[in-house]
Symmetry: D2
Subunit: 262 residues, 4 copies
Amino acid sequence: MACSKFEYVKLFEQHTTLLPNTFLVVRLDGHAFHRFTSTHSFHKPNDPRCLNLMSHAARHVLDSLPDITCAYGQSDEFSFALRRKSTLYKRREAKIATNICSLFTAAFCCAWKQFFEGVEMRYPPSFDARVVAYPTERNLRDYFAWRQADCHVNNLYNTVFWSLVQAPTSPLTEQQAQRLLRDTDAAAKNELLFSRFGINYSKLPEMYRKGTVLFRKPVMVSSVSSRDGVTLVERMKSCVVAEHRDVIGDEFWVENKYILED
Amino acid sequence: MACSKFEYVKLFEQHTTLLPNTFLVVRLDGHAFHRFTSTHSFHKPNDPRCLNLMSHAARHVLDSLPDITCAYGQSDEFSFALRRKSTLYKRREAKIATNICSLFTAAFCCAWKQFFEGVEMRYPPSFDARVVAYPTERNLRDYFAWRQADCHVNNLYNTVFWSLVQAPTSPLTEQQAQRLLRDTDAAAKNELLFSRFGINYSKLPEMYRKGTVLFRKPVMVSSVSSRDGVTLVERMKSCVVAEHRDVIGDEFWVENKYILED
Amino acid sequence: MACSKFEYVKLFEQHTTLLPNTFLVVRLDGHAFHRFTSTHSFHKPNDPRCLNLMSHAARHVLDSLPDITCAYGQSDEFSFALRRKSTLYKRREAKIATNICSLFTAAFCCAWKQFFEGVEMRYPPSFDARVVAYPTERNLRDYFAWRQADCHVNNLYNTVFWSLVQAPTSPLTEQQAQRLLRDTDAAAKNELLFSRFGINYSKLPEMYRKGTVLFRKPVMVSSVSSRDGVTLVERMKSCVVAEHRDVIGDEFWVENKYILED
Amino acid sequence: MACSKFEYVKLFEQHTTLLPNTFLVVRLDGHAFHRFTSTHSFHKPNDPRCLNLMSHAARHVLDSLPDITCAYGQSDEFSFALRRKSTLYKRREAKIATNICSLFTAAFCCAWKQFFEGVEMRYPPSFDARVVAYPTERNLRDYFAWRQADCHVNNLYNTVFWSLVQAPTSPLTEQQAQRLLRDTDAAAKNELLFSRFGINYSKLPEMYRKGTVLFRKPVMVSSVSSRDGVTLVERMKSCVVAEHRDVIGDEFWVENKYILED
C-alpha cells in the first residue's frame, strides 16, 4: 500500500534460499543459558522441569508447522527436521530460522508456569537458531546420531561431575572435579559413578541419557459423529508423540519411513 | 567435549557473515498476526495495549544488546539498527536475526499480562525477522524514513477504513469501505474523516501517526554513594527512551549523532 | 609475506562454500556471442568449426581438473559436472566458477587458429559461468537431460529458420521466418523442412542434434617399458572421449556409473 | 524457447547479488603461475614482458566494461574497481567475477605473441577471481593501498632474493637466500642490495616498485569533421591510461575524483 521515495532501500534485502530437495534442520540453542539456569537454580546435571518444558515448546513448533517431520532435543537445544520437498516460506533461510525460533521461545515463555510451579521467571530467556541443509538420508540420520552421541557423552560427564561436586561427604570443588575427570574414558566414568556413588548409569532415566525425540504417529481417534451427534466414529490421525529412544540405529528410521521420504 | 564419527555433519553448516562497516537493520514482523489480533479482539485501527507491549519488548532488546543504537516500531513490526562497527555474534546473519527475534518474542509473551489485563492469551504469538545491511548514513536514514512514511500512509488509510466500518450509523461492509477508498489521495481521506466523522487526523495520538522510536539518551541519575551510604552522587547514564516523533527530517539525527557514528 | 595497516580490508571477503556431498555443475555461456559470431561470419545454424573448438576447450578443462567427471556442450555453452565428494578449491564457489571459466577461455583462444584456419580473430571472445549444486543423482541426470532437450528444441527451430532465411529461391526475411514458425510444433517443423527443402532432420549430424558429451573412458594404452626401453607394456588409462549421444535415457549413465558414484 | 519436464532443475540456481551502493573490487590472480612462469622461463624477480601483457589484458577489460573506474596490477594479479552505483549484470556475483576473469584471460592469451616474441606458449594459462564489496571510500582506498604496500614488500624481498641467487660470483641456493633474509627489515634489505650488488632500490623501474594503475583520463582528441571531411575537430574523450604511481597518498584520488563518486 505504502509508496515513497524511500522505498528503494528494500532493494538492499538479500534473501538466501536453501537448496531445493535437501533435508533442512533447524537447531535451536539456549542463549546464555548458563546465567539463566543459575539465576533460576536449575537442578544439576538435569532439570526435568526444563527438559519437559523444552519438549512442550518443541511440540508447539511441530503443531504449528506440518512440514516438520521430527525433532530431537537434549540439554538446552532442540533440532527440527523439515521434509526434503518442503517449500515452507519459499525455503528462505532467515524466515525459517527466525519463525521456528520465535514459535519455540513463545511457547517456552508462555508455559513456564505449568512446568516451573512456584518459580518466578526473573527475566525472559532467549534462544538462537541456525538452518543446515542435508542432501542425503544418510547425512540427515548422521545429524541426529551426532546430537544423540553428544547427549550421551555430555550427560555421562555431567552426571559424574555433579555427583562429585554435590557429594554429601567430602564434595569436590568444580575445579577439582574437572581435573579428576580430565582424560577419563567412558568406562572409567561409569566405574567411578558406581563405586563411589552406587549409581548404575544405565539405570538413569532415558530422558537424560537419550534425549527426547518428537515425531508424528498415526493413531486411532474416536469422536462423536457430526452427522447424528451420537455414533462414535473412528479415524486415523497423525499425532505428535515424544519418546526417549535411540535414533542412531536403524529401528527408529524403519518404523518412521515418512521422515526420509519425499 | 563430544566427539563421534557423526561429527562430520557439522561441516554442512554455512555461516553467512554480514559485510563489515555497514549499518545492520533487523526488522521483526508479527507472524500471521491477522489471526492473532482477531482471536484476541484487538481494537481497530490501533490497539494501544499492543503498541505499548511492542515497545516494551523492543526496550528489552535494547537493554540486552548495547550494539543496538535505536529502534523504530509501528503496527506489528519493529526495526533495530546496529552500529556500523558492531561485531555482535561475529556479524553472523542467522545468529543476529534469531536472537533478536527470540529476545523480542520472549519479552512480548512474558509481559502480556501487564499490558492486556484480564485478557487471556489464547495461544503463543510468533514473529519472524530479517537482517539488511546498509552501507551509508543516507541509506540508513532512508530506511527509517521508509518505515515511518509507511506508518503514515497505512494509518491514515486504516483510520478512515475502520471509521467507515465501525460507524455507529449506516456502517459500511469492509468490502464497501475498500471500494470507496480505492484511488483516494491523502487529502480526500483527511477530508472524509473530518466531514463525516468530525475527526481531525492531525490531532490523533502521535503514537498512531508516527510510530515509536526508541533510542539512547544520556540522563543525569543520582544514587546514594557506595562509599558512605549517605551522600547523593550524580552521574550520566545512557537510558533508553521512547518517543513518537519524526525520523524523516534532520532534527532527530542531528540530536542523536551517535547512531550514525562509528 | 606482506603486512600493513591496510590489511584489514581482507576481512571484507566473503567466501561462499558449496554444500558438501552435492554434485556441482558449472555452466559456461558465450558472452555477447551474437556479436562475436556475426563479426566472424559463423555458419548458421551450426558452425562445426566453433562446435569443435568448444569441445577442444572443454577437453582442456577435463584434462586440467580430474574432479570433473563429464561435460556436455551445445551451441555456445558447456556444462561441467564435478563428483559429489569433490573438495576442489575447498568447494569455494567463486574459485571453481572463475577458474573453470578461465581455463576454457584460454584454451578457446589459444586453439582458435587450429579450428578457424585463415580466419583472423578480430577481438577476444569472453564467457561467463555459474555453479549450481544438485543433491541427488536424479537431479544431476535431469540437469543434463534439460540441456539436451534444449539442444534439440533450439536446433530444430534454428535449422528451419535458417533454411527459410537462406533459401536459394524466395528467401524470407528473419522477421518473416520468425512469424511463420511461431506456434508450430515439432512435427510441423519437421514436415516443413522435408517438404520445402528436402531435409530429413533425423539425418542431420548428431553433433548438431544431440550436442557433445565428454567423459572419461578406461582405454588400453601400450608404451615402451621404462625398464628396458624395448618391451611393450600395456596398461589401462582413463581417457577423455567425446561422443554425440543421448544422455536423457539410462544407457549412458549405466555405462558410466562412475559419474554418479562418490 | 526450450521447455521440458526437466526444466525444474533451473530452480536450484542461486544468484548471489552484491550489496547495492558499495564499491565492488574484482581481484584476478594467476592460477598455478609458479609452474607457468618456470615453464616459460620468465625473468626473475620481474619479467617486463609479462607485466606489460598483464596491463594490456587489463586495458581490454576496462575498454569492455565502462563501469570499471580503475584497475591496479602487480606481479600476477590485477584488481578492478567498479563504481558504487554500478548495476552491471544486476550485480550478480558469479557473472561479474567470471566475465571479468574471462575477458582478461582471453586478452592475455590472444596478445601473448605481441609481448613474448619468439616464445611459444606451451600450454594455456589460467586465472581465478573473487569479488569483494567495500562500503566506504576509505575502505576502497585502503584496498588499493593494501595491494600497493604488498607490491612494495614483495618486490623488495624478491629483488634481494634473486640478486643473491643469481649472483655472478658465489650465488646462494634458494634455501640459503631464504634463510639469510628471514627476519631482515626493509632497511637491512636495502643496505644489502646496495653494499653487495651496487643496486639502489629506489632507482629501479617504478613499474616494479609501484605496480601499474589504469584509470580513465579525459584527453583532447582531434579528428576530421564528418561534415566536410576536411576541418579538424577537437573533443574531449575519456581514455584509459596506465601509470606507475603512488595510490596510497591523497594525490591520485584527488586528481581522479570520479572513481569515488556515484
